[in-house]
Symmetry: C2
Subunit: 208 residues, 2 copies
DNA sequence: GAGATATCGATATCATAATATCGATTAAAA
DNA sequence: TTTTAATCGATATTATGATATCGATATCTC
């Protein structure tokens, strides 16, 4: 089993490196350029780059921009296309179905499920089914990723169904910390915490 | 200037503690209960609770549930109501305007701005204006928080306008690491990174 | 009432990530 | 051609967060 050689922290910075480098037109880019542009430490930048690319930098030049872009895209999985279902097609779920940025990132949402839906409906090109049909359809679609945008009350129960249906990766937008077996990965999108950080800053002026 | 005594990591766990405790009906709740339910270390739970509440726990009982709930809600800023504008009213922006969860979290979106809009339009109860009017309206509304859901190309330019208009806290959904003065705080919502974590797990089976 | 034990809070240890330091190297400048 | 300086990569240090340990104590059981 292949293992990842870089940390999640590194992974989280990669999209920013990528965007900066794609916006340049020079032959090379140095770790200092990147660090200054993104407000990071330049040693950290070099370590991140070393973790995802075998290309060495050169003194007084930096790194060749184009090969590095390729390596970062590779590390971010931009080559592969994943399929996912989305459960909970309210406002947020609908927005995510419509969000065209996912395609660029290599994600295709192939179906939605919602308790409120009786017969199949369509949100643009995406079919949305009653949640009842989740346990049958997911194995047939052979999808391994699910986006969870249901409310807190239902989150764990839906999660259990998803796992039983064969889902192995869950992108969790609910306020619940999900209980899953070891072979299932959860990524939490914690809006309440994000908002709290900002709100607290405004009310106290205290950063970090 | 009041300072926050707890870390962002603690803050990110608070919504989960809160949800768990609100779903219980017992008089008390122990750090072990919480830790087991949420898959955390119980020492970590105790430290988090100590950081946001002066209430002591008792041997063999744990913590009184209701006062602790109050303290966590206080720490998360649920008492206060913040106002924000949203810039970039595409699919994601529209969803966030409609997302009723924000109200519970103490956030009211008072206006939207979008380049495509010529005259004022309405998204439910929220007025959306042309981006031209941003620099005049934001000071008049006296809003200090902005949600940024524009595309990467425009993100930094819009950010600069927001800062000039008096915005001090930015919730950034774009793929760009924004450059801001020291007295402005940015919180990045990094969808590409989240997706990459999940996608990579599915393709390699490697967790953590 | 005496003993057992669950739970706390404090402190110590460990793990991980961020940052600083420094010699080596190579392109540019003199 | 020689000197200068920007940049790298490796290593050391520091900072931060997570986890383990342990004595104190309040409640429960007998």
């Amino acid at each position: 089993m292949e293992i990842r050689s870089f940390t999640i922290q590194t992974l989280e910075r990669l999209p920013y490196y990528l965007h900066y480098m794609e916006s340049r037109e020079t032959e090379d880019v140095s770790s200092r350029d990147l660090a200054n542009a993104l407000g990071l430490n330049e040693v950290q930048v070099r370590k991140d780059l070393a973790a995802v690319s075998s290309k060495a930098g050169r003194p007084r030049r930096g790194f060749e921009r184009k090969p590095l872009i390729r390596d970062i895209r590779e590390a971010l999985g931009f080559g592969r296309m994943d399929e996912a279902v989305i459960v909970g097609v309210g406002h947020l779920g609908t927005a995510l179905i419509n969000y065209k940025g996912f395609r660029e990132l290599g994600l295709r949402i192939v179906a939605g499920f919602d308790l409120q839906v009786e017969d199949e409906i369509w949100v643009n090109e995406t079919p949305v089914f009653s949640s009842d049909r989740l346990k049958n359809l997911i194995p047939r679609l052979n999808v391994k990723m699910a986006i969870l945008t249901v409310n807190s009350e239902n989150a764990q129960a839906v999660c259990d169904e998803l796992v039983a249906a064969g889902i192995r990766a869950i992108w969790n937008f609910s306020q619940v910390m999900l209980n899953v077996p070891d072979n299932v990965i959860v990524r939490n999108e914690n809006m309440a915490a994000s908002l709290a950080v900002l709100s607290e800053y405004l009310s106290t002026g205290n950063n970090k």
